[in-house]
């Protein structure tokens, strides 16, 4: 899941300072599922912005809210928003960075404002709203060799041959030893599975050219 957080309201109010009309566009994908920017949050955002502008003594503008099933789908996004494009000069997307750019591509003459910050690809593993990063979309998955624990996303140094000297009692030097060292978790996992030979295996320098340029799958 793409994990995101809503931007501070003051920042969004700054962004919309000079706009004439605004459509808040929620997304029922990742953003909606975890109640960051779905239908309900889009409607709440509309009200908050109206209140915020009033408090700041700004002239009221037309603000409405709508939701797209998945803002990362160009066709769905374009068809959902198109009927409303004449009424609004600006869109506020509550989706991830992909959603913002999908709207921008579909309606190149309109201003699109991001209402969220896209954080990472993560798992909800504890309470609702608590997430941990699990994947960096590196394009060359090593999870078979690492006991189902990703060293690229979960090791602060993305080491392929860990651990580093910063591991103490199975914890990581980054985050004041509160976070598990990924290579300690990998060690524990491979040991349990009787596959410690994979731990010692040398993984040579990686071909990062894949990530060094924008990717496309056609």
């Amino acid at each position: 899941m793409i994990v995101l957080e809503q931007k501070p309201l003051d920042q969004i109010l700054e962004y919309i300072n000079d706009v004439g009309s605004l459509l808040v566009v929620g997304c029922d994908g990742c953003s909606g599922i975890y109640q960051v920017g779905g239908e309900k949050q889009a409607k709440t955002m509309k009200k908050l912005l109206e209140m915020g502008m009033k408090i700041k003594g700004k002239k009221a503008i037309k603000i409405e809210a709508t939701t797209v099933l998945r803002q990362c789908d160009l066709r769905i996004t374009a068809t959902t928003i198109r009927p409303l494009t004449k009424e609004f000069d600006t869109f506020l997307s509550l989706a991830c960075g992909i959603g913002v750019q999908t709207i921008a591509k579909a309606f190149p003459d309109k201003l699109v404002i991001p209402g969220t910050d896209t954080k990472f690809l993560g798992m909800q593993e504890r309470e609702l709203g608590e997430f941990a990063e699990m994947c960096r979309a590196c394009g060359d998955c090593v999870l078979y060799e690492t006991g189902g624990i990703c060293p690229i996303a979960r090791c602060a140094k993305s080491l392929l041959n860990g651990p580093c000297g910063g591991m103490v009692d199975g914890k990581c030097e980054v985050g004041d030893y509160t976070r598990d060292c990924a290579w300690y978790l990998i060690y524990e996992a491979l040991k349990r599975q009787g596959r410690l030979d994979l731990y010692k295996k040398f993984r040579p320098p990686r071909d990062w050219s894949y990530k060094a340029q924008p990717q496309e799958i056609k």
């Binding site: 860990g162 591991m167 103490v168 030893y177 040398f202 320098p205």
Partner: protein, 306 residues
């Protein structure tokens, strides 16, 4: 294949002589006076001095430049520390070629403390390669005359390649597997993080014995009670023995500065002479890596008593 001994350090290790190495920390300055003075304080005491590369992720004078200056000005052989934190593979190749051209014969390959722990915590960490991959890269440059991508190097560098190990790692097994991985890749020698007691040193040397790599145990003389206390409280995984802390605290209260310094030196000498003698007697360690950063005055009296 056993790599040729290119450095004095490696020749001594191969000869089976118990060796001492020191440590020099370039700081945030362009003035080399201090590092030259520190290097001079180590002459005739140690065979080589490590030159640190942005320790604790603080941006200091380049360890390559400092290594060169020390070798040129004092004749002290450098162990050029190079971390993979701040440079991608192109920059690492470039620096290694430069080091070779400047007559550097030892490198110590390190991962490097994470950037968020340093004095510019907003820096983007690089880690294009990790320290094992760097051992592989450097080894390939030296042994095969090829860079990491297989491109030919016209005149390859001649380095002996060192690695670090943490005898305090808990659990120790992943640390040992990591070290073995690097030994298989061609590491020539290993210097450890700080050990304050014989059990830690002995356990580590015994556990790495089958790897057949010379181990230099790291020690850290404490210039003051404050330094020792800081080390004890803030360097994870390392505890300074309570007795040493207590004694340093006691002598730290001596009002006369000259007398206090002399007493602190005595405490350190008593403690570390005993520890080193015990290491020599009861383990197969190849030497001692003395990290007397800011406390170089102790190196000469320490080594002379051994």
């Amino acid at each position: 294949m056993v790599r040729e001994a290119f450095s004095n350090l490696m020749r001594e290790l191969r000869a089976g002589n118990f060796v001492y190495t020191g440590e020099i920390e370039p700081l945030k300055t362009v003035d080399p006076t201090e590092i030259i003075d520190v290097a001079r304080a180590h002459i005739d005491c140690v065979i080589a001095c490590n030159v640190t590369d942005n320790p604790k992720s603080c941006g200091y004078m380049s360890s390559l430049v400092a290594s060169y200056i020390i070798q040129r000005e004092t004749g002290m052989e450098a162990v050029y520390q190079i971390t993979v934190r701040d440079r991608n593979r192109l920059a690492l190749i470039s620096d290694l070629l430069g080091a070779g051209a400047l007559g550097i014969r030892n490198i110590l390959v390190l991962g490097g403390d994470h950037t968020v722990l340093g004095d510019a915590p907003g820096a983007k960490p690089v880690y294009d390669v990790d320290s094992a991959q760097m051992v592989y890269m450097a080894g390939r440059m030296v042994d095969e005359g090829l860079d990491v991508a297989g491109n030919k190097i016209e005149t390859p560098p001649k380095f002996n390649i060192g690695i670090a190990g943490n005898p305090n790692a808990a659990p120790l097994e992943p640390e040992l597997l990591k070290i073995e991985r690097k030994v298989d890749l061609g590491a020539d020698f290993l210097q450890t993080q700080v050990a304050f007691d014989i059990d830690t040193a002995k356990t580590f040397v015994d556990a790495t014995e089958t790897f057949k790599i010379p181990i230099l145990i790291g020690i850290f003389p404490c210039k003051s009670y404050g330094v020792a206390k800081f080390f004890d409280e803030h360097i994870p995984g390392v505890s300074v023995p309570a007795e040493l802390l207590e004694t340093l605290k006691k002598v730290g209260k001596i009002e006369d500065k000259k007398e206090r310094k002399a007493k602190i030196d005595e405490v350190n000498l008593d403690f570390f002479v005993d520890l080193i003698k015990e290491i020599k007697k009861t383990t197969n360690a190849a030497g001692i890596h003395i990290m007397a950063v800011g406390y170089e005055r102790l190196v000469k009296p320490l080594v002379s008593r051994l």
